[in-house]
């Protein structure tokens, strides 16, 4: 088992950054993005109710579990939805995420 995984995040302005994340932390990708200072509001705190933590999976979409109903419901409301869209609060950090790449699509309140 890997203790540290690498995940690449592309910001809204196109800058790409590779983060090293410990896997034993039981956090969601949303919490990691917020912790790293990415400009997402995550209004609902991770309940799949606000969609401000929207990400597009650039690499590795097929490795993720399918969205649950509530996540689909929110994804369906988004005007900038893509077939690779997910809510980052619904994605737990674990080894399967190693090497994946995400683009930040969510919003801040400015």
């Amino acid at each position: 088992m890997k203790d540290l995984i690498e995940v690449t995040i592309i910001d809204k302005d196109g800058t790409s950054n590779t983060l090293q994340i410990p896997t034993g932390i039981s956090l969601s990708l949303m919490e990691v993005l917020k912790g790293e200072g990415y400009p997402i509001l995550a209004t609902c705190g991770g309940m799949a109710l606000c969609a401000t933590c929207h990400v597009q999976v650039i690499k590795g979409y097929e490795k993720l579990h399918q969205p649950e109903d509530q996540e689909w419901a929110m994804l369906d409301t988004l005007p900038n939805y893509t077939p690779q869209s997910r809510l980052s609060c619904q994605l737990k950090i674990d080894e399967t995420m190693d090497g994946m790449e995400f683009r930040v699509m969510g919003e801040d309140n400015v």
Binding site: L41, T43, C44, M47, L49, C50, A51, T52, D69, Q70, W72, A73, M74, L75, D76, T77, L78, P79, N80, Y81, E107, D108, N109, V110
Partner: protein, 345 residues
């Protein structure tokens, strides 16, 4: 003769405290102000009261409201409305506060995006994470027709009676409005980018049923990609997944892609702002501008927690402090509600 000036004064809403934001904290502020005989008028950009609780999680239970081991967010708002009823608050809903100015006599005049004006002695900003604003699809010229056929919120469904209306979106609110408006519109279409509505199976089933009965025109695997008109919206272009275009002549286009809070105009009001929040004095939650307070999620101070409970506490302290602007000649004496009761206006 009625001059323009006297007309403006008469048509202006007069109150003691104008509250920006009718979330739980703005609502509770009415109670705390009412105990001190101060009247309140609330303005919210949303068509309903309750802020985040009504807009984002009305059906979710909250566990940290003192005295309620568990309460649904929607029920908390219903209870707050009941609790403040004796103090007869007035509301302007569905309008955004854009600016305020101060007159020479100290009164504050607040103006909304619809031109409503409110005159008060105190301004309380209980604006949460900001104004709930619609997510807009990327369609050229959309803004050109806002208010001229394009809107993002339905304030009065009757406005669409007999009209040709196109809704876009696939979430709960798009489906619920499609069901509701199918009885009202002359011709209703719902455009959705995929083939299914995955999050709300029950409403989706109803919408498919209505489409079968010919009560609404369901346009799936498609997006609205262009709008046009001469002054007022006249048509929308719908593009399907095969990139084929159809033009639809309509009176109204309503994209329903959910709402998200934006700080918006508050950033321009000359307040001290730190990380999108208003810096306040913890003694009374006053801001750097006299007679202007900020309470609830919108403010920040060392140790701030964005909790309903904390906002309620801030509302109580704010009211005690605001009293001196509303009744400058009176001395405030502190009384329990158990002793004094709730004296309705």
């Amino acid at each position: 003769m009625l001059t323009l000036h006297t007309f403006l004064v008469y048509s202006m809403i007069q109150t003691d405290i104008c509250i920006v934001g009718a979330g739980p904290v703005g609502l509770f502020a009415v109670f705390e102000a009412g105990l001190l005989k101060m009247r309140c008028h609330l303005v919210d950009a949303l068509p309903q009261v309750g802020g985040q609780l009504s807009e984002i999680y009305p059906k979710k239970p909250i566990y940290d409201i003192p005295g309620y081991p568990e309460i649904l967010a929607g029920d908390l708002i219903t209870n707050l409305m009941k609790q403040i009823e004796p103090f007869k608050p007035t509301f302007t809903l569905g309008e955004r506060v854009d600016s305020f100015v101060r007159n020479d006599d100290g009164t504050i005049i607040v103006t909304t995006n619809e031109g409503t004006t409110i005159s008060s002695k105190v301004l309380v900003i209980a604006a949460g994470l900001g104004c709930f604003e619609p997510r807009k699809p990327e369609v050229k010229d959309l803004e050109k027709f806002e208010g001229k056929g394009i809107s993002y919120m339905i304030l009065d469904p009757e406005k669409y009676r007999g009209k040709r209306v196109v809704l876009a979106g696939g979430g709960d609110s798009a489906l619920d409005w499609a069901i509701h408006l199918s009885e009202i519109c002359g011709e209703l279409s719902l455009v959705h980018r995929s083939e299914t509505f995955r999050g709300a199976p029950d409403s989706a089933a109803k919408v498919f049923e209505l489409a079968k009965k010919g009560k609404l025109n369901l346009i799936l695997n498609s997006n609205v990609t262009a709008v046009s008109g001469n002054g007022h919206l006249e048509s929308v272009t719908i593009t399907n997944n095969q990139q084929e275009n159809t033009q639809l002549f309509v009176d109204n286009f309503i994209p329903l892609f959910g709402l998200t809070p934006k700080l918006g105009p508050i950033a321009e009001w000359g307040l001290n702002i730190d990380k999108n929040s208003i810096v306040v004095n913890v003694e009374d939650y006053s801001t750097n501008i006299p007679a202007v307070y900020a309470i609830g999620d919108i403010n920040t101070y060392p140790g701030k927690l964005k909790l309903i409970l904390c906002g309620f506490h801030e509302a109580a302290l704010m009211a005690q402090s605001a009293f001196r602007y509303v009744y400058p000649d009176q001395k405030l004496s502190f009384k329990y509600t158990t002793v004094n009761g709730v004296n309705a206006f």
